[in-house]
């Protein structure tokens, strides 16, 4: 499920993006739908907002939960208007802004659960959110998956890490009671390259023991998104990569990857 908002007319297109969610092998085998979702948007003044959500495999309506979560988070950031976004140095202001996006997303899940007369856990989903301005990169995350920033030299730095408890197959969800208290938050310098991904990719993209991004994984992807001017072509190639046997045989779960590169100059 995707929610792409086109480039806003009137503002210079300073970001190139590619985003795709594909169904994992085990979900395809069980004839389940893709439970991942993503949403990206370009706001005026060169501000990028990107969200990724991964619905829990065991939850009945998790594909509803993940789609609702990314939409809610994107809309909250977009609706506040870029003039009302905090300054690049205002850590607490940013923390509050992103936390409000997460609590509104959670409130929407609660409303939806009530409307459908189901337990909130039926909509269990993770949520990853990144806002990139020309001065700063701000991230918040509940659950697993990760957000990675690239530099012009092909290096990669983790802004968030996959979070799980004692067991590798349980994580915190936006619907968990302590979701917002345990959320990861970070304010970083402006990014030239950004990647957000669900847990389906983390085992090939990160050294899980340390949470370190594997640079030879990210560098070609960042080069690709920076050099592909056609949004539709970029999307198509990314989808084809994520659906390729080489990726699919290394991951049984749904896979979502959002890539963005800022055009310099």
């Amino acid at each position: 499920m995707k929610r792409d908002m086109g480039t806003q007319s009137g503002s210079a297109s300073v970001w190139r993006m590619a985003a795709a969610s594909v169904r994992g092998v085990s979900h395809a085998r069980a004839d389940q739908v893709c439970q991942d979702a993503h949403a990206v948007g370009l706001l005026p003044d060169g501000v990028l907002v990107a969200a990724v959500a991964d619905g829990a495999g065991s939850a009945a309506l998790s594909e509803v939960g993940s789609a609702l979560a990314v939409d809610s988070a994107r809309v909250v950031i977009a609706a506040s208007g870029t003039s009302k976004l905090p300054d690049a140095t205002d850590t607490e202001g940013w923390r509050e802004k992103l936390a409000s996006a997460f609590s509104i997303a959670r409130a929407h899940l609660e409303e939806e659960a009530e409307k459908r007369k189901v337990d909130l856990n039926a909509l269990a989903t993770t949520l990853l959110l990144a806002v990139a301005t020309p001065e700063a990169t701000v991230v918040m995350q509940v659950g697993d998956g990760a957000i990675v920033m690239g530099d012009a030299d092909g290096g990669a730095r983790a802004l968030t890490f996959p979070l799980h408890g004692e067991y590798a197959n349980t994580t915190v969800f936006l619907t968990s009671p302590d979701a917002l208290e345990t959320a990861q938050f970070g304010l970083y310098p402006a990014a030239t390259h950004l990647a957000l991904f669900s847990d389906g990719l983390q085992r090939i993209a990160l050294d899980m023991a340390t949470g370190t991004p594997f640079a030879p994984f990210f560098a070609p992807l960042f080069r690709f998104v920076a050099n592909e001017p056609e949004a539709a072509a970029a999307q198509e190639q990314l989808t084809s990569f994520l659906s390729s046997p080489r990726v699919q045989e290394r991951s049984d779960d749904d896979i979502t990857l959002v890539l963005a590169a800022r055009l310099i100059g």
């Binding site: 092998v25 085990s26 829990a56 495999g57 065991s58 939850a59 856990n121 269990a124 697993d144 799980h164 004692e166 067991y167 590798a168 197959n169 349980t170 994580t171 969800f173 619907t175 968990s176 847990d199 085992r203 090939i204 993209a205 990160l206 050294d207 899980m208 023991a209 594997f214 030879p216 994984f217 070609p220 992807l221 080069r223 690709f224 050099n227 592909e228 001017p229 056609e230 072509a233 198509e236 190639q237 990314l238 084809s240 990569f241 390729s244 080489r246 990726v247 045989e249 290394r250 049984d252 779960d253």
Partner: protein, 224 residues
């Protein structure tokens, strides 16, 4: 511009070790299993292995251990990757020391989890499948009580998922009093069906992710 296929060639993958999915088969080998049932159970262990090895995910993650209980309880097979598991040939012996079997299974799991932590290996919540055709017999009440309490504590702290499978002859009511989760009643079904059910459940538990406490085995055959 990049053409389709180029990303596939350019992107390199990091190789993380697969998370471990510990699975204990806790098997009743008391005298009531003599003859046909034991022969079918032994054959079933081979089927169990074959079915999991065929599963691309389970084959990389499942570590299986086999513990038997009769008049003695013993670890017949310590935790081993399913691909390297050589099914043992079990023989029947004596009474049904189920409580001692449960205690040994929990103890083995504790030390295996400790070993995995020391190796910094990721792991899933371990599960035990206890298969019985009877009820506890010739076992001191305090051993049973200790097993019941310890299992309850382990389930409460989310240390284990313990499933009791009742096959022909089992006393489901007594099992219900001993274990936390509702026993899976497969009385009247063949061993083949039971083994199919077992491998499908283990396979499902070895993949995907769970909302806390939502981990369940497959619904028993015939209920869906």
């Amino acid at each position: 511009m990049a053409e389709t296929g180029r990303l596939e060639d350019a992107v390199e993958f990091f190789s993380n070790p697969e998370p471990r999915c510990p699975c204990v088969l806790l098997l009743d080998v008391s005298d009531s299993m003599r003859g046909q049932p034991m022969a079918e159970l032994n054959a079933g262990l081979h089927t169990f292995r074959e079915q999991l090895v065929r599963d691309p995910v389970a084959s990389k993650r499942v570590d299986v251990a086999v513990i038997t209980f009769g008049s003695v309880v013993q670890v017949v097979q310590n935790f081993i990757p399913i691909t390297r598991f050589v099914p043992p040939t079990l023989t029947t012996q004596g009474y049904t020391h189920m409580g001692a079997g449960i205690l040994l299974a929990l103890q083995q799991l504790q030390s295996y989890k400790k070993a995995l932590r020391e190796l910094e290996m990721d792991y899933f919540r371990p599960h035990v499948f206890m298969i019985t055709d009877g009820e506890p017999r010739d076992e001191p009440e305090q051993v049973l009580e200790r097993a019941r309490k310890q299992l309850e504590a382990e389930e409460r702290s989310k240390g284990v998922l313990f499933f009791a499978i009742a096959v022909e002859g089992a006393d489901v009511e007594r099992l219900r009093n001993l274990v936390v989760r509702e026993p899976i009643d497969l009385k009247g079904r063949s061993f083949q069906e039971m083994i199919d059910y077992l491998s499908k459940s283990v396979s499902a538990l070895s993949q995907s992710r769970f909302v806390e406490d939502a981990q369940q085995p497959m619904p028993p055959p015939g209920t869906i």
